[in-house]
Symmetry: C2
Subunit: 266 residues, 2 copies
């Protein structure tokens, strides 16, 4: 399972303030804590500051990579910001994200060629958000063809089928889960990666809903998630779900997490 730590996002107050003040240590601490808690990538997002996004995204990359030996997930739809951040990033980043929307596709794709980057590809086109499993699979097919056609190997593609709120349509959950399963069965080697929190939009008890939906998605083959790796209950749910989904030989990682006390507070 690939975990992208979501906490360094300028839309969050504990990040916006240090970003404006140039407080390196506050950002560095968030990077260290997330990697220590098991994140594989540190997501960096400066989208709140639209007119300085490229400059601030580069600053975040530099501060994070001075603090931890880990790659970033460069989180922006803005080709200029992505290009600038790619030029300062060391190692192989994740790009979050491209989509089939015409402008985004045409401006971002040339930047990705030859970088070796992992690419998050949203199942979104100019026709808008997909609703059903079949709509997601149709967009996924065009994404896979386009990205592999541009020389990006299947193993570097993380399809995001786009979680939508169950409060607006009770079928949203199952359609998403079936899309995850469909994608993973259809293109062996490709990955899926989602943020879960949209599922609970408009409802109380959001953390429990997000965690429950994550468990379901892992059982369908989801192998990437952008989340808060410092949330112990999420980590416990994930360790348990991966074991039950057959991804933990001899239950070794589950038992290790249990002995480390991570599973104590059910």
């Amino acid at each position: 399972m690939i975990i992208v730590g979501e906490l360094i996002n300028a839309s969050r107050k504990p990040v916006a303030a240090p970003l404006e003040a140039g407080d390196r240590e506050a950002v560095a601490r968030l990077a260290r804590d997330q990697i220590a808690a098991g994140a594989d990538y540190v997501d960096v997002n400066a989208g709140l500051f639209e007119d300085r996004e490229a400059e601030l995204l580069c600053w975040l990359v530099e501060v994070v990579q001075a603090a931890v030996q880990a790659p970033c997930s460069l989180d922006s739809p803005n080709p200029e910001a992505i290009e600038a951040a790619l030029s300062v990033h060391r190692g192989t980043p994740m790009i979050n994200s491209i989509s089939l929307e015409k402008d985004r596709w045409e401006l971002l794709l040339p930047l990705l060629r030859g970088t070796g980057a992992r690419v998050v590809a949203l199942c979104m086109s100019d026709e808008g958000m997909p609703r059903t499993c079949d709509q997601r699979l149709a967009i996924a097919e065009r994404l896979v063809e386009g990205l592999t056609g541009a020389g990006i190997p299947l193993e570097n593609i993380y399809l995001d089928p786009l979680v939508q709120p169950v409060s607006t349509n009770t079928a949203c959950g199952l359609e998403l889960l079936e899309a995850v399963e469909g994608i993973m069965k259809r293109w062996p080697g490709v990955h899926t990666l989602c943020g879960m929190s949209n599922i609970s939009f408009g409802l109380p008890g959001r953390k429990r809903i997000n965690e429950t939906f994550l468990v379901m998605a892992v059982s369908r083959g989801l192998d990437g998630a952008i989340l808060d790796p410092l949330d112990r209950r999420t980590a416990a749910a994930l360790a348990t779900a991966e074991m039950l989904a057959g991804r933990d030989d001899f239950c070794a990682r589950y038992l290790e997490a249990f002995r480390a006390g991570l599973l104590a507070d059910r």
Copy 2:
């Protein structure tokens, strides 16, 4: 979702002692508590007392039905005990359980005809426990054919695909989940019902594992479970899982559970 409350089982100490002492109130309280917590059926099991099973099962049925307006799940592989309990049960019980094992099938099936009872049918034959999804589906097919051939409507059949410990084989979880999905898609109208606790046999943190696996199974279509309805975390997991599985119009039952404080202690 059909919930069978599992607590009145003579193999549990808080039941064995009252059963031996003829303490009606202790048993009645367990029945009332489980129904108040949302159980649809009260399971009764006197299998620990092999030589008096029929007599004690009848006593349990009588005490439970004097305490609550609800049917029992008559839990025994013993035709004599089932026949006796059927003769004292008021309303329509669940019979837990028949299987394809030759003796059990031949002795129990005649007792079920014409009773209108719900029938739990284990995916088990004389060839032993099934391992894979396909083995379960093959046994399920013979069970469905045999039971409907004996006049038992599909709607009264609860197939139990038999949960097995993930500690002995990491594939056990997914094989079970795929069997649930396969059964529900193949025979629309039929039900599935499991106990979850075998999944965690041999591992620490069993309640969390059972609850996580229940969430996964609900997302595959499981619509019945035998469990402890007094466990608040299980109830919370179930309310959340059913909403995410598209079974809760307007999230109404989830919101009601939230307002009742059932979802507070994530």
